[in-house]
Subunit: 452 residues, 2 copies
C-alpha cells in the first residue's frame, strides 16, 4: 500500500526558524519613517511591536533563530502537521505529476496562523505587555491570535474587516469563545475608522482599514502592542516551521519539489512554506520554481508596482518597499478574505524583483472549481484562500499531462473552509463571479502611492 | 520537554476491527421482526443494509474482522489520529489526574463518523448498489456519508433533522459540496414524513423521524441501501479503529486508562473507543471504568427502560432490545444534535444491564462550561456532543483533586465544534438553559413502547 502521509515525531520538530533575509542575494530595502523618510530602527518599530519581533523584523545577519522553549512547548500541541501525497487528486486529474500538500488545516482553529500568533503573544508576555490588538480579514488570524492571547493571559482586541465579519459570523464567535473583543472595521471606535466612514459611509472594510484601527489602539493604549498576521518579515519567519518540517517530510517521501506553491495575501503562509526550500536555490544550486497564487481581483504581484507604500489605509504604518496596488485599494468582495490586501511583504517583493519567484493570478471561479475537486478527492474542504494554491497546482499538474513530466508539486493547504461554507453554497448555486481589473483601474489607484 | 502527542505510523494502523459481540459474557438479544416477533436473520437485514453489514451486525463468533484493503487505503488519508495528553487542561483544573484524549476532530469533515461511512459505502459499491440514503442529526454523519459516497461513486440522499438543519446550515452546504441531496426531516417526500407532519405540523424532527424517512426511501428505491451512523453493532465495529489505535498509543505513553469516557448518542464513538479496552476487562481481568456521557435532556442510559423498541419514529425498523425513552420521544432542542436519540445500541444496552459500563447525564450548561475550558486550554473548540465527554472527564478529574489519586482518564474528542459556533455564541450570551425531565414525563413517554 502506498504511503500517503509523512509524519514527524515530536523530537523531529524543528527548534529554529529560518530567516531568509540573512541569505538573500539582495537584502530587502529598509522601512522608512513616513514623515522624515529616514530608515527605521528596531527601537522605532518597538513602539508598535514587541521588542523581539521588532529585532527579528530587521535581522539580516542570523539565518537561524531559536524558537523559545515555551513556544515549542505549545507547537507540540499540534505540530508537526502531516505532509500528504494527494494520490486521489492526481488520479482525478490523470496527471503524471506527484502532488504533495502540507496540511495546516488540522491546526487548532483550522489554519497556519497560530504558528506566528503563539510567538508574538509569548514575546509580548515576557516583555510585560498586558494587551494585544490586531486586524483580521476572514478571521483565521484573529481566531489564532485570540487563542494565543488566552494561552499567555493577555487581553485581546481584534478589528475584523466588516464585510468578512458579515460573510463569516462564526469566526467572530470563535474569537469571543477565547475571550477576545471583536469590532467590525471601519468602526467609529478610532479616529482612523471615523475618517474612513466619513469619507465613505458604506466602506466594506479591508485589511488596510483594520490595520489602521488596530495600530491606533496600540499607540494610544498603555501596555498594548500591535500584532500582525502576515506581510511583515518576522511573521514569515515564524511560519518557516511549515517549510522546515516539509523539507524533512519530502525527504521521507524520497522526493524534492520542482514547484512550490502557496496562496498569497501578505505572504505568511507562502514564505512559511517556500523560504526553507528557496534557501537551497540560493545556497545549493537547486532550481525549484516558486509560485505565489493571488486572486485575479487583487493582483499586486502580477500587476502591481514596486514602490514605497503604506501598509494600511490611513497611512499610520512605516513606508514599506513593496509590490502594491496602492494602500487605499478596495478589492472586490471575494470570499478569500485573507487575500484581499493591497501589498506584498518586503522580502517577497524583493524576491520577485530579483526573479527568484513569481506570482500567478487566479480567477475566483477557477479557485472554487479547484477547491471542489480537492474536497471530493482528498476529503478536506479547503479555505477559499487555499483554493488559490490548489488551482495553481492543478494548472501545473495539467501542464504535466501535456508534457508527460513527472514533476513534483508541493503546495500549502493553509486552512480548511468549514467556516466558509456560505462561499461554497454560493458557488454551487452559481452566484459567484470573477472580478478582473482593467489596466486603467489599476493605474488610477496607484496614483495614491506616496511620492518619495 | 514532556511529550504531548502520541502518533502511530501508517504501518502501525490496525488492519482488523474488534467485534466485542464475540467476547461478551452475555450475548446481545436478537432484533425481532415487528410483525411476527421472530428473530431476524442477516438475510432479513440485507433488505435494508449491505449484505456485509447485515452479516457483521449479527456476528457473535468472530472477534476480529478484516478491514478491506480499499477501506484501509482510505483510512490512511487521515489515520491514525493523535492521542493527546491534555496537560493544559490538567493544569487549569489543578488535578493530579492524567487526562488523555483521542483527537478525532482532525479527521476530514471534523468527526469520527467517516470511519464507518467509508466501509459502509465500500460494501454497497462492491455489492452493486448505486444509491445510498441515511439520516443525520447535527450533520456530522451526513457529511461523512456524503464524502464516502462520492469517494466510491455512489449517489447519496440525506434526511437531516429539521431543527439541526436550521441550527447548523453549514453542514448541509458541506453535504451538497460532496454532491449529496439533502432534505429536512420530517418532510413531505415520504409517507412517514407526511404522517408525522399531519400529526404535528411543527415537529422539529429527530433522528427517529429522519431514520423513518431514509428507510422508506431505501425500501422503495431500486439499488438503494440504507446506511446508519450509529446505534447498530456494525457501526460500532467500524469505529473500534479508534480504540485499537488508542490502545497502542496509551502503551507509547506508558499508561493504561482507569476510566474511559465518550459522549453517547447511539453509541458509535463510545463503542469505538471503549470496546477494545473493555476487551481487557472481559479477558484479562482489567478493572477500567467505562462512562457514557449523555445529555440530561435525553437520559436513556440513566433513566430509560430496557425494552424491545423501534429504532425510528414511524416504527419501520426491527424491534431492538435496548435502553429507550420510547421511540417517539421528542428531546429538547439542545445543541448537541447527535445526542438527541431515544435509544441506545443493542451491545451497549446489554453491557449496561450486565454492569460493565454506566451512563452519566450531563446538563447542557455544564457541557458548554467544560467545552469552553477545553477550548481555552487545549485550543480546540469541541463539538457540543464531545463537550459532554469533556464534562464527564472534568468531573472525574475533580474527584481526583479530592482524593489525590493520579487516575488515568481517557476520553474521545469525537469532533470539533467549528460548525456549531451559534451554540457557543448562545452560551456566551447566556441564552442557553438546562432541560431536566421529570419522572412523570419519562414514564408517560415510555407508555408507547410496544408490548411484546
Amino acid at each position: 500500500m502506498k504511503q500517503k502521509r509523512f509524519i514527524l515525531s515530536e523530537s523531529e520538530i524543528p527548534t529554529k526558524w529560518y530567516n531568509i533575509q540573512a541569505d538573500m542575494p539582495t537584502k530587502p530595502m529598509l522601512p522608512l519613517n513616513p514623515a522624515t523618510h529616514e530608515p527605521l530602527t528596531a527601537e522605532d518599530l518597538a513602539h508598535i511591536f514587541s521588542q523581539e519581533c521588532a529585532k527579528q523584523e530587521l535581522d539580516t545577519e542570523n539565518a537561524w533563530i531559536d524558537i523559545p522553549d515555551e513556544v515549542l512547548d505549545k507547537y507540540r500541541y499540534y505540530r508537526a502537521t502531516p505532509l500528504v501525497r494527494a494520490y486521489a487528486l492526481e488520479e482525478a486529474l490523470g496527471t503524471p505529476a506527484h502532488i504533495y500538500f502540507k496540511n495546516e488545516s488540522v491546526n487548532p482553529l483550522g489554519s497556519h496562523k497560530i504558528n506566528s500568533a503563539l510567538p508574538q503573544c509569548y514575546y509580548c508576555k515576557v516583555e510585560g505587555t498586558t494587551n494585544v490588538t490586531t486586524e483580521t480579514g476572514a478571521g483565521q488570524w484573529g481566531a489564532a491570535l485570540s487563542y494565543a492571547a488566552s494561552v499567555y493571559g493577555l487581553s485581546a482586541a481584534v478589528y475584523q474587516v466588516k464585510i468578512s465579519m458579515q460573510q463569516k459570523p462564526y469566526r467572530s464567535s470563535i474569537m469571543r469563545t477565547f475571550g477576545a473583543a471583536v469590532t467590525g472595521s471601519p468602526s467609529m471606535s478610532t479616529r482612523a475608522g471615523k475618517d474612513i466612514i466619513t469619507r465613505e459611509p458604506m466602506h466594506p472594510g479591508s485589511l488596510g482599514t483594520a490595520i489602521s484601527e488596530a495600530i491606533e489602539l496600540a499607540t494610544t493604549t498603555p501596555h498594548c502592542k500591535y500584532t500582525l498576521g502576515s506581510v511583515l518579515n518576522h511573521v514569515a519567519l515564524h511560519q518557516t516551521i511549515i517549510g522546515l518540517e516539509a523539507e524533512k517530510q519530502m525527504a521521507m517521501a524520497g522526493e524534492y519539489p520542482d514547484t512550490v506553491i502557496a496562496c498569497f495575501g501578505g505572504g505568511s503562509n507562502f514564505g512559511g512554506l517556500a523560504f526553507p526550500f528557496m534557501r537551497h536555490n540560493i545556497l545549493d544550486g537547486k532550481t525549484t520554481e516558486f509560485l505565489a497564487a493571488e486572486p485575479e481581483s487583487c493582483p499586486k504581484l502580477t500587476r502591481g508596482k514596486f514602490e514605497y507604500d503604506f501598509g494600511d489605509e490611513a497611512g499610520y504604518t512605516p513606508l514599506l518597499p513593496m509590490y502594491t496596488l496602492g494602500h487605499d485599494f478596495k478589492p472586490a468582495n471575494i470570499h478569500a478574505g485573507g487575500l484581499r490586501y493591497h501589498g506584498a511583504g518586503v522580502i517577497v517583493s524583493q524576491l520577485i524583483k530579483d526573479g527568484m519567484m513569481k506570482g500567478v493570478d487566479i480567477p475566483q471561479l477557477e479557485s472554487f472549481e479547484a477547491g471542489m475537486l480537492f474536497a471530493r478527492t482528498e476529503g478536506i474542504i479547503p479555505a477559499p484562500e487555499s483554493c488559490h494554491a490548489i488551482a495553481a497546482a492543478v494548472r501545473k499538474a495539467k501542464e504535466c499531462i501535456a508534457t508527460g513530466e513527472e514533476k513534483v508539486i508541493l503546495f500549502n493547504l493553509s486552512g480548511h473552509g468549514l467556516i466558509d461554507m456560505t462561499a461554497y453554497e454560493s458557488f454551487i448555486n452559481g452566484d459567484l463571479q470573477n472580478y478582473k481589473l482593467t489596466d486603467d483601474e489599476i493605474a488610477r489607484n496607484l496614483k495614491d502611492v506616496p511620492k518619495l
